[in-house]
C-alpha cells in the first residue's frame, strides 16, 4: 500500500495529472504552492486528497477545475487536456465555501445548471423536486438560502452540482464547516448518491476520518510546497455506513497508520 505502485490503463483513467506545478506571485514574492504532482483517478473511483492546511490541495483541485492556471504540467480528463478558464463538460465542482446564490430560492439554485442548459420548465421542475427530496429539503424549495442551516445549505449546494449529472465530481472540503454529526450525515448522503451514480470523485479534505469513510484511496500531501507524500488504499467493503465504519478495528488500524504520517506534515507545516 505504498506510493505510486498503482498502474491504470489509459482507458480507465478518468483524471490524469502529470507533473503539475504552481507558483503564485504574491506582492513580488513567489509562493510555491504545488510541486510536481502526478496521479490519476480511475473511472468511478473515489479518491481523497488529504493534507495539512496550506499544502496546496485546493490549488490542485482548482487547477483540475480550470479555475487556476497551472505554472507547468498537464491535466487530462478522459484523455483531453483541460483549458484554463473554460469549464470542462461533465465535471462538477462543490466549493469549500458556501456559494449558493443568495438571490435565488433553493429550488432555483438547484435548477440553475438546468436553466443554463435550456432544459424545459416541466422537466426542470421534476428534476429539482427529485433533488430536493434526496437532500431532505422538500419543504425548503421556496426558501432563500439565508433561511437555511449550514448543513442544509451544503446539501443544496451539493444538489446544485449533482442535478446536471456530472460524471466527474471535484469536491473541496464541502463539509469542512459542519459539526461532526451533521458531517457524518452528509457522508451517508454522499455515499448513497455515489453508490448509485458511480461518479469519479476527487475529494479534498484535511479530516482523516472523512477520507477513510468515503474514499477508495487516499493521496497524502506533504506540507507546502505540496507534493504527494504517500498514497493508501482504503479497502472497506461497500456499501459503507458512515457511522458503523468508524467502529471497526480496520478503521482504527488505518487511522493509526495514516495519522502518524499526516501528523509529521502538520508539524512541518507549522514550523517556518
Amino acid at each position: 500500500m505504498h506510493a505510486s505502485q498503482f498502474v491504470a490503463s489509459p482507458v480507465t483513467r478518468r483524471i490524469d495529472v502529470r507533473g503539475l506545478c504552481k507558483t503564485f506571485q504574491l506582492a513580488g514574492t513567489a509562493i510555491e504552492a504545488v510541486r510536481d504532482v502526478s496521479f490519476s483517478v480511475r473511472r468511478g473511483e473515489f479518491v481523497a486528497l488529504l493534507g495539512p492546511s496550506g499544502s496546496g490541495k485546493s490549488t490542485v483541485l482548482n487547477m483540475i477545475a480550470t479555475l487556476v492556471k497551472p505554472t507547468s504540467g498537464q491535466i487530462l480528463i478522459d484523455g483531453t487536456p483541460v483549458v484554463p478558464g473554460q469549464a470542462t463538460p461533465n465535471v462538477g465542482y462543490v466549493f469549500q465555501r458556501d456559494t449558493l446564490f443568495p438571490w435565488r430560492t433553493v429550488a432555483d439554485n438547484i435548477g440553475y445548471g438546468l436553466q443554463l442548459a435550456g432544459v424545459p420548465v416541466a422537466e426542470r421542475k421534476e428534476r429539482i423536486d427529485a433533488c430536493l427530496m434526496q437532500a431532505g429539503l422538500q419543504d425548503f424549495g421556496n426558501a432563500y438560502p439565508s433561511a437555511l442551516s449550514g448543513g442544509m445549505r451544503q446539501r443544496a449546494a451539493l444538489m446544485r452540482t449533482l442535478v446536471v449529472e456530472p460524471q466527474v465530481l471535484l469536491m473541496d472540503e464541502p463539509f469542512g464547516a459542519l459539526d461532526t454529526h451533521t458531517k457524518i450525515d452528509m457522508h451517508d448522503v454522499l455515499l448513497r448518491i455515489w453508490e448509485r451514480e458511480q461518479q469519479t470523485v476527487l475529494f479534498v479534505t484535511h479530516d482523516l476520518g472523512e477520507a477513510l469513510t468515503l474514499a477508495d484511496r487516499i493521496i497524502l500531501f506533504s506540507a507546502r510546497p505540496g507534493r504527494i507524500k504517500e498514497s493508501f488504499e482504503v479497502d472497506f467493503a461497500r456499501p459503507r455506513n458512515a457511522v458503523k465504519i468508524r467502529e471497526t478495528p480496520r478503521y482504527a488500524e488505518l487511522f493509526q497508520l495514516i495519522w502518524h504520517s499526516l501528523g509529521e506534515e502538520f508539524i512541518k507545516g507549522r514550523s517556518p
Binding site: 465542482y93 456559494t99 446564490f101 438571490w103 443554463l116 439565508s146
Partner: protein, 291 residues
C-alpha cells in the same frame, strides 16, 4: 427600532409637530409687532407666505378658482376655459416636469447601469476610461445646465439632458463599485455549471449589483428632479421650475410655495415607488432580517 411597537404614539407626535409648524407659519408673524425679539423677520409672509395663502394660491394655479377668488364651475365651462387660457397652470406644469424627470431618470439609470457593468467587469476598459470619468465627475454637473439649454433649446430635450447628466454618474459609480465587488465565488460557481459570459452577466453580475444600484436610485430620482427644475429655471415655457420663476418675477411667495410643495409631494411619491420596487426585487435580502 426598539420602540416601534407603538405606532399610534409615533403618529400622534408627527401630527402634533406638523400642526405646530403650520400654526407658527400661519399666525406666528401676527405677534411680530408685540414680540419683535421672539419672532424673526424671516417669518414675514412676504417672504414665505402662509398656509392659508398657499392653499388659496394652489386653487387658483390649478384653475379650481378664478383670480378673483370665485370657484370655477366644471359644468359652466369655467374650469375648461381657465385650463385653455393659462399655458403653465399647475396641472400642465406638473405633468411636463414629471415627464421630463421620468425620461431623464430612465435614460440616466439605464446608461449609467450599462456603463457601470461594462467597466466594472473589464479591467482594461476601466483603466482606459478612469481619467476621463474622474475629470468629468469633478465638474459640478449643474454648471453645465446653461450650456445644455443653449445647445438643446428651451424645449423638453434640454431638461431631459440636464437630468440625465446628473443621474448617469451617480448610477454609474454605484454600479461600477457593485460590479467590482462581486464575489468571484459566485462567478466561478456559475462558470463551472456551464454558464457563458453573457449568462454570467445576466444571472450573477446583474443580481449581485442590484443592491448597489438600488442604493443610488433614491438619490437619483431627486437628482433627476433637480436637473429638470434647474433646466426650467434657465429657460423653459412650461414646468414647475418655470412656475417658480414666474412667481418670483411677480414677488409672489405663495406661488413659489405651491410649486415647492408640489415638488415635495412628487419627490415623496417617486421615492415611495422606488422603495416598493426595491422591496420586490431585493426580497431575498429581507429574509435576513425577518423571522
Amino acid at each position: 427600532m426598539r420602540r416601534a411597537r407603538r405606532p399610534g404614539r409615533t403618529l400622534a407626535w408627527q401630527v402634533l409637530i406638523c400642526l405646530c409648524i403650520l400654526s407658527i407659519w400661519q399666525w406666528g408673524y401676527d405677534l411680530h409687532d408685540r414680540l419683535p425679539w421672539l419672532v424673526p423677520d424671516l417669518l414675514d409672509p412676504y417672504f414665505i407666505s402662509k398656509p392659508s395663502d398657499i392653499f388659496e394660491h394652489f386653487l387658483i394655479l390649478s384653475c379650481l378658482k378664478s383670480k378673483l377668488g370665485v370657484f370655477n364651475g366644471w359644468f359652466n365651462g369655467e374650469f375648461g376655459r381657465c385650463m385653455a387660457r393659462s399655458e403653465n397652470n399647475l396641472w400642465i406644469a406638473t405633468a411636463v416636469t414629471l415627464k421630463n424627470t421620468f425620461f431623464g431618470f430612465v435614460t440616466g439609470v439605464s446608461s449609467g447601469f450599462a456603463a457601470g457593468l461594462l467597466l466594472g467587469r473589464s479591467d482594461r476598459l476601466s483603466a482606459i476610461f478612469q481619467p476621463f470619468i474622474t475629470a468629468v465627475n469633478s465638474i459640478p454637473r449643474i454648471a453645465l445646465a446653461p450650456i445644455i439649454v443653449l445647445a438643446f433649446g428651451i424645449g423638453d430635450t434640454s431638461k431631459i439632458v440636464t437630468s440625465w447628466i446628473v443621474v448617469v454618474f451617480l448610477v454609474f459609480f454605484n454600479t461600477f463599485e457593485g460590479a467590482r465587488s462581486i464575489d468571484e465565488g459566485f462567478v466561478n460557481a456559475a462558470r463551472l455549471l456551464g454558464a457563458s459570459e453573457w449568462q454570467i452577466t445576466r444571472t450573477v453580475v446583474v443580481p449581485s449589483t442590484m443592491a448597489w444600484v438600488f442604493a443610488s436610485l433614491t438619490p437619483a430620482i431627486s437628482f433627476a428632479l433637480i436637473g429638470v427644475i434647474v433646466g426650467e429655471f434657465i429657460g423653459a415655457e412650461r414646468g414647475i421650475g418655470r412656475l417658480i420663476i414666474e412667481s418670483e418675477a411677480r414677488a409672489e411667495a405663495s406661488g413659489m410655495m405651491v410649486a415647492v410643495i408640489v415638488l415635495m409631494l412628487v419627490g415623496v411619491a417617486l421615492s415611495a415607488l422606488i422603495w416598493r420596487l426595491q422591496a420586490y426585487l431585493l426580497r431575498w435580502q429581507q429574509h435576513n432580517l425577518a423571522e
